[in-house]
């Protein structure tokens, strides 16, 4: 069978660096990987919001959002929560180890359409991973966008991803950052409470703004309610969906929410679209 | 004698009770000789209930099949009883579930329907093809009478009953809160002719037999899902980490699937034959289950699904149990 254009055939990539974002049973580990094949590396093009199937031969694959912006360099970053069979095996990887990657899959955040607008990201927990590329992208193309506001929270300081990086944003890049944890902890200088409350505390204006939210379903539900309270229109609100996936190319059938295939029509959707799909928030 | 008036009235009385969620019985299906499970929660829904030689489904499977969603905060879980109509074989599933503590006695209200054997619908549909109009049937001595659009047809039981019914030793419910009509006289004798036939073959011949059958298995899992005794929340055959049986459909994995299931049912199978009935490719699964049934009876003098006070076979031990099969 022909080798080229076989969408199921993954590429080999080497883990260049890896570190834990959070610890515990469901720890989150970030992998910085580089394709072994020069040609693959050069042909790879992705935009913020897209995903890739990463995996290990003999174990399987998982669809993971690409957590870096293409502007960062010729590498890919994935932040993976230790969950099932594949992610458990991925967590064993150390620098120099190999994984497989295929993609990129899905649509992307419409970063071109958003030029000249204020960008607000509202993330919770591991949900910050798909938001990180936008932040990086906007930072890199700073003149194309108005204010960048990052709102991010997790259950506890131990559950926050990219904390140093986000705190680092505070000082430069003209980014306004707001962090929260659910319960009081000693030495925590930022907001205490749930992300939807932090959103109300920040109260961004909807004028010429785009709000992008990603996190646990229950958080998204309340964030959406609060964005509506802040008078955001449905088409000013974006989120990403996730569902179980096997193929990534719209064939295997399982990722649909209503008639939307998350792997191809998504993962990025505007709330205006999702409102029409009752299964979207199932 | 089957008394449908009484059946429906009893069902109405039962579902009127505050402590009963619904009654599960049978109703006329959408076409031909099909009968389908019916869940009546209101008295008027009980009018559709029926009982006839077409009532093949073992409804006891629904006692454990319901997928329970988490109870919303502030709401009380529904602890009402489920009322269930059972034939003799079906009632044995209830007993075995009680034995295994898969069910509590208070959780179920059992309505017994003594049964003279239900048909093999595939045989009937072959005999009377192309009948779309809902047809009915009743027992008459040693015959089954089918009420067809062009009149009644009498057929001998031998011609249309599945083997599990022809061999049945428990036509009357072994457990019930209420019995709808008089018990029928049991007709079956246990000589395991069906099992002996296979046992008489050489291992090669037996493997050839099963190889042929297992090769055609689609792994649709209807045999497992319909089985009232297959109620593990997390079936070992769905496990991926570790994977005990690959999802690939081939002779090796199919054999692994069927043998794993047969062993898990040893001393637990209550001979309702549902696995065999639902199999779309007609794998004679009861031959496998009956072989193990026979082993269990002969070696441990144990019959599952008869005595609700019994200890499960695998949890019981007697010093004089035979050990000659232990390597």
């Amino acid at each position: 069978m022909k080798d080229i254009n076989n969408p199921y055939k993954p590429h080999v990539a080497t883990v260049e660096d890896t570190w834990y974002e959070t610890y515990g049973e469901r720890s989150i580990k970030t992998f910085k990987v580089v394709f072994d094949d020069e040609e693959v590396r050069q042909n790879w093009k992705h935009l913020p919001g897209q995903c890739a199937m990463i995996g290990l031969l003999g174990v399987g694959e998982s669809m993971i959002s690409i957590s870096c912006s293409p502007t960062e360099g010729e590498f890919l970053r994935f932040s993976v929560m230790r969950m099932g069979k594949v992610t458990q095996a991925l967590h064993e990887l150390e620098p120099g180890d190999k994984m497989t990657v295929r993609g990129p899959y899905g649509n992307n955040f419409p970063v071109d359409d958003w030029k000249g607008k204020k960008i607000i990201t509202i993330g919770g927990g591991i949900g910050q991973a798909p938001l990180r590329p936008i932040i990086e992208y906007v930072k890199e193309n700073r003149d194309d966008y108005e204010d960048l506001t990052v709102i991010y929270g997790a259950r506890s300081t131990g559950d926050l991803c990219f904390r140093e990086e986000i705190e680092g944003l505070q000082e430069k890049d003209e980014v306004s950052c707001h962090l929260s944890i659910d319960l009081e902890e000693e030495g925590w200088p930022h907001f205490v409470g749930f992300v939807p409350s932090l959103l109300m505390e920040v109260s961004p204006s909807p004028e010429n703004a785009i709000a992008i939210t990603c996190g646990p379903p229950i958080m998204i539900q309340f964030v959406l309610e609060n964005l509506k309270k802040l008078n955001f229109e449905d088409d000013q609100i974006y989120t990403t969906l996730e569902n179980r996936m096997k193929c990534g190319i719209g064939k295997c059938g399982r990722c649909n929410a209503g008639s939307l295939y998350v792997c191809k029509d998504g993962p990025v959707f505007s709330y205006a679209t999702l409102k029409q799909v009752p299964e979207a928030f199932a | 004698m089957v008394d449908l008036e009484k059946l429906r009235q009893t069902a109405k009385d039962i579902v009127s009770r505050d402590d009963v969620k619904h009654i599960i019985g049978w109703k006329q299906g959408t076409y031909g000789f099909r009968v389908e499970p019916h869940f009546a929660a209101e008295p008027d829904e009980a009018d559709a209930l029926t009982f006839s030689p077409l009532c093949t489904n073992n409804l006891a499977t629904y006692l454990t099949l319901a997928e329970k969603l988490p109870v919303p905060r502030g709401e009380e879980p529904d602890t009402r009883k489920v009322a269930l109509m059972v034939k003799g074989c079906d009632s044995r599933a209830v007993v075995q579930l009680l034995v295994e503590q898969g069910l509590t006695r208070e959780g179920v209200y059992v309505v017994g329907c003594p049964c003279s054997g239900v048909v093999d619908v595939k045989k009937v549909e072959k005999m009377f093809p192309d009948i779309l109009e809902p047809a009915q049937a009743y027992w008459k001595n040693d015959q089954i009478v089918f009420q067809l659009p062009d009149g009644e047809k009498e057929v001998s039981r031998e011609e249309v009953l599945p083997q599990k019914c022809l061999l049945c030793r428990y036509p009357n419910p072994v457990i019930y809160d209420e019995l709808l009509w008089d018990e029928v006289k049991a007709w079956g004798s246990e000589d395991y002719e069906d099992v002996k036939e296979l046992e008489a073959k050489s291992p090669e011949e037996r493997w050839d037999f099963w190889k042929d059958k297992f090769s055609s298995c689609l792994r649709c899992y209807s045999c497992r899902n319909v089985c009232p005794m297959c109620y593990c929340e997390d079936c070992v055959l769905d496990r991926l980490n570790p994977t005990w049986t690959f999802r690939s459909v081939n002779l090796s994995e199919n054999t692994s699937y069927h043998l794993a299931r047969a062993f898990h049912l040893a001393g637990r199978c209550i001979e309702c034959g549902e696995c065999e009935r639902v199999c779309p490719v007609d794998i004679p699964l009861m031959k496998l289950n009956r072989k193990l049934y026979k082993e269990v009876v002969e070696r441990f003098d144990y019959e599952p699904g008869i005595d609700p006070e019994a200890t499960p076979l695998q949890a019981s031990y007697r010093p004089d149990d035979e050990e000659d099969f232990i390597l």
């Binding site: 199921y8 399987g60 064939k251 | 076409y31 389908e36 629904y62 059958k213 209807s222 690959f246």
Partner: protein, 339 residues
């Protein structure tokens, strides 16, 4: 297009032998207790006197289990399978051929699935007109559908008294027939007899559904109590989906024996709970109610939304083989009542 040709029934085996020169010939044969489409190795095993096979012939282009590639544990080389052979699927019913045309749309959505089309593009479909439809057939409910519909077929074959009539539908079919030397031109009378038998067959169908309004209306019944009612007795098995000629969903698994690893795909079913189960334990379709709702919606609304055709051909298999008599026509009738 070439005229209708005829084949003497007594020459069938020789004809089949001619077809399978350098090709796979998929035809109905006895497997275990049931009839299935499988590659013919002995012509006499082919059975053409049947209503329809229990398992649809989709496996000729979309096998139940298929190796995507193989590898050695500890190594990184990926070995793709050999290209597949040309194939003739003989005896396929018109409904099942239409089904293939329907799932082509999914497998070619934006990009071709190379495994599917490796077989599909190499397959010639010789359909067998359905002169004795089964009780739950409802193929005439669909535009293009019918017991002698040529949609998706390369050749339509019809059994008559002691001959088969073969009518080419596509150039591929014409080419295939021109390569066979056992065929003679059929007479006008013979062609008329065949046409008559087609019309009579359509009359024999007992069930039908008017699909008008269903694709547009279905999603609006999302919260209807109907779904709970029609799924109450569902066992959650895979019969309705595995036996469906348009169901195309699959799983992908890595399977390792010793150092030999393979990544393969196998039919999966939206009626299984694990199908949508997230690694976190969350399941967007937690019960059979949601799964049944999805199955019906997928066939009658989502697929229409995406690919402009209802993903159901009226073969009746899901009705015939459901162990608890869940009847899609009955469900659709209830849907129509609520619209």
């Amino acid at each position: 297009m070439m005229e209708g040709m005829k084949l003497q029934k007594e020459k069938l085996n020789d004809f089949l032998d001619g077809l399978r020169k350098e090709k796979y010939l998929f035809a109905p044969q006895k497997e275990g207790e049931s009839l299935q489409f499988s590659p013919v190795s002995e012509e006499s095993q082919v059975e053409l006197d049947f209503q329809n096979t229990i398992i649809p012939p989709k496996n000729a282009v979309f096998p139940q289990t298929e190796t995507l590639f193989t590898y050695q544990i500890g190594k990184l080389d990926i070995e793709l399978p050999e290209e597949d052979r040309e194939r003739v699927v003989l005896g396929i019913r018109p409904c099942d051929a239409r089904a293939m045309e329907i799932i082509d749309r999914l497998f070619s959505w934006d990009e071709d699935d190379p495994y599917y089309f490796d077989k599909r593009n190499k397959a010639a479909l010789i359909g067998l007109a359905c002169l004795e439809p089964c009780i739950n057939c409802f193929c005439t409910s669909f535009e293009d559908g019918g017991p002698a519909s040529t949609a998706g077929l390369d050749v339509l074959m019809t059994a008559a008294e002691d001959i088969f009539i073969l009518q080419p539908v596509t150039e591929k079919g014409e080419q295939l027939l021109s390569e066979q030397d056992l065929l003679e031109t059929a007479s006008d009378d013979e062609m008329k007899t065949v046409e008559k038998s087609h019309a009579e067959a359509a009359e024999k169908l007992q069930r039908k559904i008017d699909t008008e309004g269903i694709p547009q209306g279905l999603p609006g019944l999302w919260e209807s109590p109907l779904w709970e009612k029609v799924s109450g007795s569902c066992l959650g098995c895979g019969i309705c989906t595995y036996l469906c000629p348009t169901c195309h969903c699959f799983d992908i698994q890595d399977e390792v024996e010793g150092f030999d690893g393979r990544r393969c795909r196998m039919w999966d079913s939206c009626m299984f709970g694990e199908y949508t189960l997230h690694a976190s334990g969350h399941n967007p379709r937690p019960t059979r109610r949601e799964r049944t709702r999805n199955r019906i919606n997928h066939k009658y609304a989502y697929f229409v939304d995406k690919f402009d055709v209802i993903a159901c051909v009226g073969c009746g298999r899901c009705i015939n083989y459901c162990p608890v008599n869940i009847d899609i026509l009955n469900i659709l009738a209830q849907v129509k009542e609520e619209l």
